[in-house]
């Protein structure tokens, strides 16, 4: 329990530091009016906008107000949309969750079988294939993969939509693009862990005792090889939710990543702050989840 408690406290501290950084960084950008004000604006309008944005208040008061609101779940209003940031985030979260969930499923459903196959059939066709898959997935730039997939499956074959969320078929291409990197990581980590386990003495003993290959692979080697892939999977899930900026931009997928890009181009800092805070929260939670899973999988962690 002490282990978990330490993790929870570390998570809270991380969140606090991030809120402070987000606030300070947004102020370092300079006076937001210089980005927001219309080129037609008069000096009178300049002052009016400052009043509306509460820039006439001292910085410490602005920070106090910011944190007080934050604790109450109020991330402020979008400067462009004039709507609560929380409401805007909620419109994007389901899309990001759908994309991340599908990409995660792809990463797991492709990565784990390929990783196991690669280890079990070491040196064979499946091993070479899986390793090629992994190298390509980690070496190819995501935007390039996205464009190639769009070109092949949307423009040439006309099987799938080129972009946006326009039904369940829309998620396939962005999910593959996003999930390929994670699948590749799973293949590499699982293959490596499985090879270690398959070479270990207890597996040899099991084989010597006449256990079937299936039992050796699934019951003995796979279970013990899971620790690395589970950690990787938890962090992959977090990065899929929060780190899909490129994929969402290329596919115009209306998720959090695209929202962040749009917020930057519109100089809409309250939204950007909201996305960053949410991102941090997801990462902190994912790390915590990984720790809990550690405890479930490896009893030695519980003892510590």
């Amino acid at each position: 329990m002490r282990f978990l408690l330490r993790r929870i406290i570390a998570g809270i501290v991380t969140l606090l530091v991030v809120t402070m950084l987000v606030f300070v960084l947004s102020r370092i950008q300079g006076d937001p009016r210089s980005l927001l004000i219309s080129e037609d604006a008069t000096q009178e309008q300049w002052h009016e906008l400052g009043r509306q944005l509460e820039l006439d208040q001292p910085v410490y008061r602005q920070y106090l107000r910011y944190t007080t609101n934050l604790v109450q779940g109020d991330l402020g209003d979008s400067t462009l949309q004039r709507r609560p940031v929380v409401d805007i985030l909620w419109t994007r979260i389901p899309n990001s969750a759908l994309l991340a969930g599908t990409a995660f499923a792809f990463a797991i459903l492709v990565g784990i079988p390929l990783g196991i196959l690669s280890a079990v059939k070491r040196g064979g066709f499946w091993d070479h294939g899986a390793r090629s898959f992994a190298v390509l997935g980690q070496a190819m730039p995501v935007f390039w993969v996205a464009l190639i997939l769009i070109y092949v499956f949307a423009v040439r074959l006309d099987w799938l939509p080129a972009s946006r969320n326009a039904g369940w078929t829309s998620v396939i291409l962005p999910a593959i693009t996003l999930g390929w990197f994670g699948a590749s990581g799973q293949v590499r980590i699982l293959r490596s862990s499985m090879l270690d386990e398959l070479d270990s003495e207890y597996v040899r003993l099991a084989r010597a005792k006449g256990s079937s290959t299936r039992a050796v692979v699934w019951k003995h080697a796979f279970r013990n090889a899971l620790l690395g892939p589970v950690t990787f999977a938890a962090l992959t899930l977090a990065s899929l939710i929060t780190g899909s900026i490129v994929v969402e931009t290329v596919f115009s997928w209306p998720g959090l990543g695209l929202l962040a890009v749009q917020a930057v181009s519109n100089s809409d800092y309250p939204i950007l702050q909201g996305v960053i805070l949410l991102t941090t929260l997801v990462f902190v939670f994912a790390s915590f989840l990984a720790d809990v899973l550690y405890m479930a999988i490896d009893p030695r962690v519980r003892i510590r």
């Binding site: 037609d40 419109t91 080129a162 931009t249 290329v250």
Partner: protein, 594 residues
């Protein structure tokens, strides 16, 4: 349960192999010959896609239900939320609303010709002293959502909302400077009076259909729902389309308004899909996911070469210009208030294009330097080699079609003449040229860096060491607002709005929040002379003087006008007549499908 790992894995892997085979076989260039581009004169963007005879004009007996053909989809980028729709807020995004046919103004540019036509009014007359106008409103104009007929009350409310206390609407400066007041004469008549004459007030608020022009909202609706609620759901206009959905960063859906007071739309609905990645936009167009798409200039040739697609220029092109920054020579604002701080941080008389304020010899030398820089730029080469023909050279600053077409004169042509430019530099006291930094800002046009670097190369051929620096527009803007810059700023815009050119120049008033590095009294004084005149002939004469001044002094160095390009699916769309008025695609009611 038995898991057949081998069988499943084979399926997965086979999929991957197929992907790679397809990928390997599908790359490369398109060898089809490019079709000729249409660098259309920007006064009109109507373009018949085929030579087929046009369908007959709509008959008055045609009902909306017989006319609505289908939904139309358009891929566009950066469709910002129209939070600024309310009149009391700045107006730029409400240009979308106008172009998309949701809100309407008193008048708007006509299709096919650079002329204004009536929309919400049936006529107007000026007071004899030139300080007032009476507008006759069109009868039977219904607001969306069943909020009744538009009356003079609505018109006056909409105007007053733009100029009320706390407003940051772009027209407020003009309205306050002239003491503008609106009055309901009767149910369908509105009058406006100014305390002091102003010859372009009418154009700005009622004439051009963009910028500061008054968009009319239902007063009844706003008073019933409250101002925030009334504006947030985006209805309450009078145009041919009603808002159905606005998902920021994703999709906008418009539906035909069956109660429209003029020819109703042929389309059932319009879906504007936000796709910001240019390659994805074109993929959506090629795959048929959308009927039309904005086309970034670098991809125009690719689109034009597709036998099922066509391209055309539309709207008002973007102005690409070079600001010789640092010309801060005004000690007082137009209103006579002292400029603070003075001198401006960016005032640097050592810069050859700035010169010493108040010293006529130095100012004349600076003028020659600016003219030399202007003559050293081969504008046509930029149009041909960078814009692929989608544009035209520009010789007057920030004056955009259709106004440019109305006022253009041959005497303002600036030749590309390097020898003459060098001679001017020698006369100005710079026989060996000078070093300079060209700051190129990004975020407005996909080819702005290429154009800016081309300008820098042309200047390099004229002068000494010309360096370039690329920075985002937003990154550059704070230092511009603070009047800190004294280098050369190459600035792009992807599209323009048709507004009286004097309004643009008035923003050079040091009293304004923003200034691109030009606070010079002479053009402002010329514009102010317009306040006391009333006839079009006199206005035209003063405009000519203004542009003579800009042409002679090159306070701003115009470079090129870059077209906005649309790609359309020619299998589906027969014709799309578009008016000028702004750089946004619109006028969906004029689309005809095959």
């Amino acid at each position: 349960m038995r898991i057949n790992i081998k069988g499943r894995a084979q399926i997965y892997f086979a999929g991957i192999i197929v992907l790679f085979v397809l990928t390997a076989g599908c790359g490369g260039s398109n060898d089809q010959p490019a079709t000729p581009h249409s660098a259309l004169a920007a006064t009109s963007t109507a373009l018949a896609m085929t030579s087929t005879a046009l369908p007959e004009e709509s008959s008055p007996t045609e009902t909306p239900s017989t006319r609505t053909i289908r939904a139309f989809t358009l891929a566009a980028s950066n469709v910002a939320f129209p939070a600024m729709v309310p009149g009391h807020l700045p107006v730029a995004p409400s240009g979308f609303m106008h172009r998309w046919g949701v809100y309407e103004t008193a008048m708007a540019w006509a299709v096919d010709k650079p002329e204004l036509e009536f929309r919400l009014i049936t006529g107007w007359k000026a007071d004899p002293d030139g300080r007032g106008w009476t507008l006759e409103l069109k009868r039977g104009v219904q607001f969306h959502g069943g909020w009744g007929e538009m009356t003079a009350d609505d018109f006056v409310w909409s105007f007053e909302d733009e100029i009320r206390d706390g407003s940051i609407h772009s027209g407020i400066g003009l309205a306050r400077a002239t003491g503008a007041k609106a009055e309901v004469v009767d149910e369908y008549t509105v009058s406006f009076r100014l305390d002091r004459s102003n010859s372009f007030f009418f154009d700005a608020f009622f004439g051009n259909g963009s910028g500061a022009s008054t968009k009319v909202f239902s007063k009844n609706r706003i008073e019933s729902l409250g101002i925030d609620a009334a504006f947030l759901d985006l209805s309450g206009g009078t145009g041919p389309f009603v808002f159905k959905k606005w998902a920021q960063g994703d999709e906008v859906v418009l539906e035909a308004f069956e109660g429209y007071h003029s020819t109703p739309s042929r389309l059932k609905s319009v879906h504007i899909l936000e796709i910001n990645e240019p390659s994805t936009q074109i993929a959506a167009l090629k795959s048929g996911q959308v009927d039309a798409s904005l086309v970034p200039a670098p991809l125009a040739e690719d689109v034009a070469s597709d036998p099922n697609l066509g391209t055309f220029s539309f709207g008002i092109p973007g102005s690409q210009r070079l600001y010789p920054q640092g010309q801060f020579c005004m000690e007082t604002t137009l209103a006579g208030d002292p400029v603070e701080p003075y001198p401006r941080p960016g005032y640097d008389p050592i810069k050859p294009w700035v010169g010493e304020c108040g010293n006529p010899v130095s100012q004349e030398n600076a003028r020659k330097v600016r003219m030399a820089m202007s003559m050293a730029i081969d504008r046509q080469s930029i149009v041909d080699n960078i814009l692929g023909g989608f544009g035209r050279p520009s010789y007057l600053p920030e004056v955009l079609p259709p106004l440019l077409d109305l006022i253009w004169q041959d005497k303002w042509f600036i030749p590309y003449d390097l020898d003459a430019a060098r001679k001017l530099l020698v006369e100005a006291g710079y026989p060996d040229g000078f070093d300079a930094l060209v700051r190129i800002t990004t975020g407005s046009h996909p080819l702005e860096v290429e154009m800016g670097q081309a300008v820098a190369q042309f200047l390099g051929a004229l002068s000494g060491d010309i360096k370039t620096e690329v920075l985002t527009y937003s990154g550059n803007r704070p230092s511009v607002v603070a009047r800190e810059r004294s280098d050369l700023w190459f600035r792009s815009s992807s599209a323009g709005t048709a507004e009286p050119p004097e309004l643009t120049q008035l923003r050079r008033n040091p009293g304004n929040a923003f200034n691109p590095g030009l606070e010079v009294r002479e053009p402002l004084d010329i514009i102010r002379r317009m306040d006391s005149i009333t006839t079009q002939e006199e206005i035209d004469k003063i405009r000519e003087q203004l542009y003579d001044g800009f042409n002679h002094n090159q306070w701003i160095i115009p470079v090129v006008l870059a077209d906005q390009i649309l790609g359309i699916n020619t299998d589906r769309i027969l014709e799309w007549k578009m008016t000028t008025g702004s750089g946004y695609p619109g006028d969906f009611e004029n689309i005809r499908f095959k």
